[in-house]
């Protein structure tokens, strides 16, 4: 089983994802340079956070025309799991692999802090070890995390169970006060219709060790491993 972490110029959570997978979860993990032409040997691709191409123009906009993204599209079509975190989520949205778009945080500022998210769908390769409605304490760090999607699309996404995480209060209630950036309906993470691509703004790789921000993030990567080992996807 092999994970690949894509490195765009300006990615900076690549190393964090790599360390989390290799050091904390003991997985075979490699970096994938953005000019790579072949993703054949990987079982899961991670699009890490950071500021690919400086997040100039729009977060993820320039990365979508990077050569590796054609290969990522093929990888997605082959049905294998892809997770995009923060800027990685923006790349997925810009490329049209996931629906929606991102606006500036509604307070117009970059926000770095721990938030709570509620798991809305446990029938994905990324959440299959989560309990129903499980609440995770997890850091965010973004300036353009205000998720937007049109009404029609949203409706379809809801019908398809594509909303995976929502920002919530410590007790799990989804409230305006617990929405850090103005995201539509507190959406913090979504998957594609097929369920093999997850985009999420919070950073699970930042909370996988007690010395950092707790361990709540580990369940997401462990779910992927479980899935790749043939473990059942709930529901």
């Amino acid at each position: 089983m092999k994970f690949g972490v894509v490195v765009f110029p300006g990615s900076n959570c690549d190393i964090d994802c790599y360390n989390a997978l290799r050091d904390v979860l003991d997985q075979d993990t490699e970096y994938i340079w953005h000019r790579t032409k072949n993703l054949g040997s990987y079982d899961c691709i991670v699009l890490p956070g950071g500021f690919s191409y400086g997040s100039y123009l729009r977060g993820g906009a320039i990365a979508k025309v990077s050569p590796v993204m054609d290969r990522v599209v093929e990888f997605v079509e082959s049905g294998k799991p892809v997770i995009g975190i923060s800027n990685g989520f923006q790349v997925l949205v810009e490329s049209g692999i996931l629906p929606g778009a991102f606006l500036r945080n509604n307070n117009m500022k970059f926000i770095c802090e721990n938030v709570y998210i509620r798991t809305e769908s446990i029938s994905t390769p990324f959440t299959n070890l989560c309990g129903k409605g499980q609440i995770l304490r997890i850091p965010i760090a973004h300036g353009d995390g205000n998720y937007y999607v049109g009404d029609e699309t949203l409706k379809r996404m809801e019908e398809n169970n594509q909303i995976v995480f929502r920002y919530c209060a410590r007790d799990g209630e989804v409230t305006d006060a617990s929405n850090p950036d103005g995201s539509l309906q507190n959406i913090a993470g979504v998957c594609n219709r097929e369920g093999n691509v997850l985009g999420m703004m919070p950073h699970p790789e930042r909370c996988m060790e007690e010395i950092l921000e707790g361990r709540d993030g580990a369940v997401i990567f462990k779910s992927i491993i479980n899935y790749l080992k043939g473990g059942a996807v709930n529901g």
């Binding site: 320039i62 117009m108 049109g150």
Partner: protein, 84 residues
């Protein structure tokens, strides 16, 4: 040689927090007449194309594939011929 000015704005239906913040700031500075502010991008591109038709086609293409995100943004552009 052509010179394209691309104007990218948020779609009308989408709230514009930056524009609002500027509006609030202007009102607090006692520019009472301000009714609405929208914030967009201006991208200026110098192009070596031969004809304005060609330049226009190219610019439209650039907008659709990179410069604008049409889920949330609209764009328009002007194209001027300039001396190299």
């Amino acid at each position: 040689m052509f010179y394209a000015k691309v104007y990218i704005t948020l779609k009308k239906s989408i709230a514009d927090p930056q524009g609002n913040a500027i509006k609030e700031a202007l009102l607090s500075m006692e520019y009472d007449g301000v009714k609405d502010v929208r914030m967009g991008k201006l991208i200026e591109i110098k192009l070596a194309d031969k004809s304005s038709k060609e330049a226009e086609k190219r610019v439209k293409d650039m907008c659709d594939t990179l410069l604008a995100n049409t889920v949330i943004e609209d764009y328009t552009y002007d194209i001027l011929e300039v001396q190299p």
